[in-house]
């Protein structure tokens, strides 16, 4: 308030109009504005860092306690997002002149600058006097006195949050409530998905592509999607079971017939000099090799002696017998046998007859290959299913699907009756009922869902079954050795070779084929709900236990 002595060039001279723009250009205020901006960046950055650290610590803590596998990603994402967003917000917020004026006032200017701005805006009579006073005060201003670093409490809080994050990351923590079970479920489902994906890959890699294998691969891809959406082992198990049913529905009797025919042919022709190459190609299920070997056999047929041609005719006839399950193939083989064995038949006729077999045999090889691959997938799914069911648990949710039952597991010889769709059973050794279980299988529910035996068996795990009669090796090479009745050890007698016996003609059916057929039939029964729900799980577990080892090809 001293008498004005500032030069006229000074925009804050008492007789000069006060101008906010001129005030904004004051060097001291510009320097202070830069420091204010920098302080804002640091303050918001530290706040963002604090928010990021706290959020990451919370996410890590909750994620670890809840057993959520995605917590590291979420924690890292939040830890980066919060400071970045805060810095971006701070970059966009440049301090305006009013804020700079207030900061200047805070450095001992006693609200002179901000009051000057206000007085100029409202055209106050004392505006010019205020401006002159502010100008004199600004000459004393030292922008360096304005602290750029945010207040220490922010940094202290950031340090505390860092320590909290470290604790949340490193401290051993128990899992909350069902989190452990959920984590185990998630792990089991993830393992099941990996297995399903491996099975799908093995199907899609099969060459040449076969429709049945492709359909099976598509089914496995769909199952993989369902497993991805599954939130519990029970859901995953149900999805696997349903997929097994659909996969089993893909298998047709024709496919089995073709495979039996090809195996019979391979066995029947194995000792034939002219057709041994074809037999090897059939055993290998290689369509190209089949065509090549048949072409080679046809080419050599013209040079055969009459006796050799007769033996070739017999071999073809034996093949027709072995391929009797495929009438068209058997008919073709018989015609070829007749053409080759005809007295007046020429070499061209024999060659043509052999060559005509190539397309159908190649197609059959493809179908057999597809069948084998689908059965491998089914077998693999059985193992996936068994892996999803923890030891000691009962059968999954196919048992007792829907409704409740008035009865509990019935054992012994007394008839039991139950009501509701949960199932019913009657008669000796058959019991059913128990409450329908849609949730995760448990030992307790197993007792109620198993039937036809003692409830005790259900708690011994999926492999605890009574010994059954088995005519051959069960479960593949690793299965138990069981002697079939009638093959008495040490028996003596005359051994008679029967060239036309079914065994010699290739009528022996491989185990996986028998298994597949029976399992398919069982699944069709399950689909038709011919069995009480309480028994359906037992059937599943039975076939899973009997599933052959997938052959490595």
């Amino acid at each position: 308030m001293r008498s004005p002595a500032a030069p006229r060039s000074d925009p804050f001279a008492a007789d000069a109009p006060p101008d906010s723009a001129a005030l904004a250009e004051h060097p001291a205020l510009r320097a202070l504005g830069r420091r204010l901006y920098l302080r804002g960046l640091l303050r918001w950055g530290s706040r963002g860092l604090l928010a990021g650290l706290v959020g990451a610590a919370l996410l890590a803590l909750v994620g670890r306690l809840a057993g959520q596998p995605a917590w590291p990603l979420a924690a890292v994402a939040w830890g980066l997002l919060a400071p970045t967003a805060a810095l971006a917000a701070a970059l966009a917020r440049r301090p305006d002149l009013a804020a700079v004026a207030r900061a200047a006032d805070g450095l001992g200017l006693d609200e002179r600058v901000s009051s000057t701005l206000y007085a100029a805006r409202v055209d106050h009579p004392a505006a010019r006097l205020l401006a002159a006073d502010a100008s004199r005060a600004l000459a004393r201003l030292r922008p360096a006195d304005y602290a750029v670093l945010p207040e220490p409490r922010l940094w202290r809080a950031a340090l505390v949050a860092t320590a909290a994050l470290g604790v949340a990351l490193l401290a051993p923590l128990p899992l909350w409530g069902d989190a452990a079970a959920q984590a185990a479920d998630a792990e089991a489902i993830a393992t099941a998905r990996r297995s399903v994906q491996a099975l799908e890959a093995s199907l899609t890699q099969a060459r040449p592509p076969e429709p049945l294998a492709q359909a099976a691969a598509a089914e496995l891809a769909a199952l993989d999607e369902e497993l991805l959406r599954a939130r519990s082992v029970a859901e995953a198990t149900r999805a696997v079971e349903e997929s097994q049913e659909r996969l089993a529905g893909l298998l047709r009797a024709d496919d089995y017939a073709w495979r039996r025919a090809l195996e019979g042919l391979a066995s029947a022709w194995n000792n034939s000099p002219e057709l041994s190459g074809v037999a090897q190609a059939l055993a290998a299920r290689d369509p190209a090799a089949i065509e090549q070997s048949l072409a080679a056999a046809a080419a050599g047929a013209g040079e055969l002696s009459a006796e050799r041609r007769q033996q070739l005719s017999f071999a073809l006839q034996a093949g027709a017998n072995a391929a009797r399950d495929v009438p068209a193939l058997a008919s073709g083989l018989r015609q070829a046998a007749a053409a080759v064995g005809a007295e007046n038949g020429g070499a061209a006729g024999a060659a043509g007859a052999l060559a005509s077999l190539a397309p159908s045999l190649a197609e059959g090889a493809g179908r057999a290959t597809g069948l084998q691959a689908t059965q491998r997938a089914l077998s693999g799914l059985g193992q996936v299913w068994a892996a999803l069911c923890p030891p000691g648990s009962g059968p999954p949710t196919l048992a007792g699907r829907g409704g409740t039952s008035a009865g509990s597991a019935a054992t012994g010889t007394q008839p039991s009756a139950s009501s509701g769709s949960g199932g019913a059973g009657a008669g000796p050794g058959a019991g059913a009922g128990g409450e329908a279980a849609r949730g995760r299988p448990s030992a307790a529910s197993a007792g109620a869902t198993l039937a036809g035996g003692s409830a005790e068996a259900s708690v011994r795990g999926p492999t605890a079954y009574e010994a059954i009669y088995a005519p051959s090796l069960l479960g593949g090479a690793g299965g138990p050795q069981v002697a079939a009745p009638g093959d008495v050890a040490g028996a003596s007698g005359e051994s008679v070779a029967l060239p036309d016996a079914p065994v010699a003609l290739g009528a022996v059916r491989p185990y996986d084929e028998v298994y597949g057929q029976y399992e398919a039939a069982a699944r069709q029964s399950l689909v038709r709900q011919a069995l009480p729900p309480a028994l359906q799980g037992l059937v599943q577990r039975y076939f899973s236990a009997l599933a052959p080892e997938p052959s490595a090809e």
Binding site: M1, S3, A14, D110, E111, S115, Y118, L129, L130, D133
Partner: protein
């Protein structure tokens, strides 16, 4: 200093000159007062601030601290007419404001002005008068008029009431009603002098002659200074702080738990006016044309302490209005 105060259209340089003159005169008045009144710097400063703000002052202190001396000296040095009324229980309103008397010459009633018709009225021990007499001051303090016999008489300009009261003797006193307390711009506490000041008082008042301060301020100059104070700028954020400060004295609006607990009624809008006017005077005296947060803090106690009506619980626990205002000044952000 010009007789006519600087109006809104006054050029800046004239305003600056007015301000310089006011500051010089105020310093002179203060110096003259200090020649007579020993110590009591804060009291003198606050009384002069109230004088420039055009408000009344309630001085509270034990007897013998120089309250009357201060007021009388102020009237002397400021060139103001001085009147003193010793308030007693038998004092009637007419004894203060004046009354209509029979005029023998005209044969009619004539208004005889009371001692209130002066520039500077010392209402000594105001709490000893009855509420009826105290209320007679209400109209005079707020409207600066006196009504008697159906006629309104304007009081001299300027008109200041400087009332005193003794906080110790409660026997036979009538505490001032809230409405009247609110009309005082400041309530100034007169503290007991320090030993050095006491010694100076003893030396100065028992000597051969008493100092007689000169008149250093004209009435018109005082009026100009009062007008000049109104030109001081209050920026919105400073005004907001003052509003928050006053609002925070109310228990239903205060962020301070102690206020919510101990205060029955907070400061009225007159409290905000007192706060701003006092801060403007402080700004002028500091050589500024704007009110700073520090100015508001400086006058908050005298402007607000008598406007807080405390609960009985506060009295029981020894909580004073000064303490609460101080806590508010600590708690509120200046932004």
């Amino acid at each position: 200093m010009a007789a006519d105060p600087a109006g809104p259209a006054a050029p800046p340089l004239a305003l600056e000159a007015e301000a310089d003159a006011v500051r010089v005169r105020l310093a002179a008045v203060e110096g003259a007062l200090r020649e007579v009144v020993v110590g009591q710097a804060a009291v003198v400063e606050q009384v002069l601030a109230a004088l420039l703000a055009g408000g009344h002052v309630l001085l509270e202190g034990v007897p013998g601290l120089g309250k009357t001396l201060l007021v009388r000296t102020l009237g002397q040095v400021a060139g103001l007419d001085f009147g003193r009324v010793q308030f007693t229980p038998d004092l009637m309103p007419g004894d203060v404001t004046g009354s209509e008397m029979f005029d023998r010459e005209s044969g009619g009633l004539r208004f005889a002005p009371g001692p209130i018709f002066t520039n500077l009225l010392l209402a000594d021990e105001i709490n000893r008068a009855t509420p009826r007499t105290q209320s007679a001051l209400l109209e005079a303090m707020q409207e600066r008029t006196v009504t008697a016999g159906g006629q309104t008489h304007r009081l001299p300009d300027p008109f200041f009431v400087l009332a005193t009261q003794n906080p110790l003797e409660m026997e036979g006193t009538y505490p001032l009603p809230e409405a009247q307390l609110d009309r005082f711009l400041f309530k100034v506490l007169v503290p007991y002098p320090t030993d050095a000041e006491l010694a100076a008082i003893g030396e100065r008042t028992t000597g051969a002659g008493l100092a007689s301060p000169p008149r250093v301020l004209e009435r018109a100059e005082l009026a100009a200074g009062i007008a000049l104070v109104r030109h001081v700028v209050v920026a919105p954020h400073v005004l907001d702080y003052a509003v928050r400060l006053v609002g925070a004295t109310h228990p239903d609006r205060s962020p301070l738990p102690e206020v919510r607990r101990f205060v029955r009624y907070g400061a009225s809008p007159r409290g905000l006016q007192a706060l701003l006017l006092g801060a403007k005077v402080a700004a002028v005296r500091a050589g500024r044309w704007n009110v700073a947060f520090a100015d508001l803090d400086r006058v908050a106690l005298p402007a607000l302490r008598h406007r807080l009506i405390l609960q009985f619980e506060a009295t029981a626990e020894g909580i004073t209005a000064d303490y609460l205002v101080g806590r508010l000044l600590e708690a509120l952000r200046r932004e």
